[in-house]
Symmetry: C2
Subunit: 212 residues, 2 copies
């Protein structure tokens, strides 16, 4: 079992505040994500800034791409992204078109999806999936449970590298002990902390304690 990576999600509504937070934790985390909200507000310059500031880190464009996969992926790649997300509702041609233009594609699992579809993604050469607790679902009171862990395990058994996200805290990491998670993604779990840098370090240390 490998050591899960830590990804900071920047879901700010403006570039300046995103950069202020990234400056605090960019050196600690493994992956820096330009969140959907931020990309829709500020565009590709987000990716260009992240790439210029952190040339050695993995950069994710969380586009949740649903169509025109080739164009969106090419744009993201040119702006500096290593990974780009596609929504699970996207067609296989969209995913294939995207996969041609950027290093790796991650399928975002939202709403209803099936393992049969997941197999089609694997067959199309997509090897990463992101398992979510939707932010709005969390606000509506849903929490991580055995039903989620079962799905994460199953996806890993199928051959996906699986990232998990949604309401994660240092304390919730232990829920995933024994599961070969690829990446833990958190935004406010770090950025909303009193000391974001310390929060990022705490996440890394807890990951090392459990998986190291």
């Amino acid at each position: 079992m490998s050591i899960p990576k830590l990804q900071i999600a920047c879901d700010h509504s403006d570039l300046a505040s995103a950069l202020a937070d990234i400056k605090k934790v960019g050196d600690v985390v493994d992956i820096i994500e330009a969140g959907t909200i931020l990309l829709l507000q500020e565009g590709e310059q987000v990716l260009r800034c992240f790439r210029a500031m952190y040339p050695e880190k993995l950069i994710v464009a969380d586009t949740k791409c649903a169509d025109a996969g080739g164009t969106v992926a090419k744009n993201c790649q040119q702006a500096g992204a290593d990974y780009m997300t596609v929504i699970c509702a996207a067609t296989i041609p969209t995913m294939k078109a995207a996969a041609k233009e950027i290093a790796e594609i991650q399928v975002e699992l939202y709403g209803d999806w099936t393992y049969q579809q997941a197999q089609q993604w694997l067959d199309a050469g997509i090897s990463q999936a992101i398992y979510h607790q939707s932010r709005d679902a969390l606000l509506a009171g849903e929490i991580w449970g055995e039903k989620d862990l079962t799905k994460v395990r199953k996806l890993i058994d199928m051959g996906f590298r699986v990232s998990v996200t949604g309401g994660l805290s240092v304390e919730t990491l232990a829920l995933f002990a024994g599961i070969d998670v690829y990446t833990f993604i958190t935004g406010r779990g770090i950025t909303a902390a009193d000391d974001p840098q310390q929060a990022a370090v705490d996440f890394k240390q807890e990951i090392l304690r459990i998986w190291g």
Copy 2:
């Protein structure tokens, strides 16, 4: 039966070329759409430009929002959008959160969705749907057919205002004769024409001929 509106989709990768095309057809069309590609590249300034240039037109932010509906919708509304799209895979809480922050939400139908889900969207107060031929599916050889028209009719019967999009030309409009389509959405069908303004006028005239 009302007369369908005409919507221009700006799926450019940069604001300048989008504005150059919009300048030609903005006065002719009913609705101006900031496409997903364009929003991801240039951010909210796209909506601000469109709103400033065309204060009387309906403006759509084609975010295909999958999560954080409230924040994305609020951002789009503040930048000038009347409508915002959400992906059909979004959860009901995401759709409801979005619907609170902007005049209207449109559900984008991609991949697998069910009429049972569609009823849940209606029950959540979402009254617009967008029926697609995915651009990548079109590139892979799919075309409009009776299977599509049946779904469009059914959605209208359920109570949705339904926009249709994907590879539309002036010639394909006749396929929809007798169907109470809310809006025809086209991008390259207009912008890639030798004379985009004339192409927009041709679309409007054909719509009037069939539905007028």
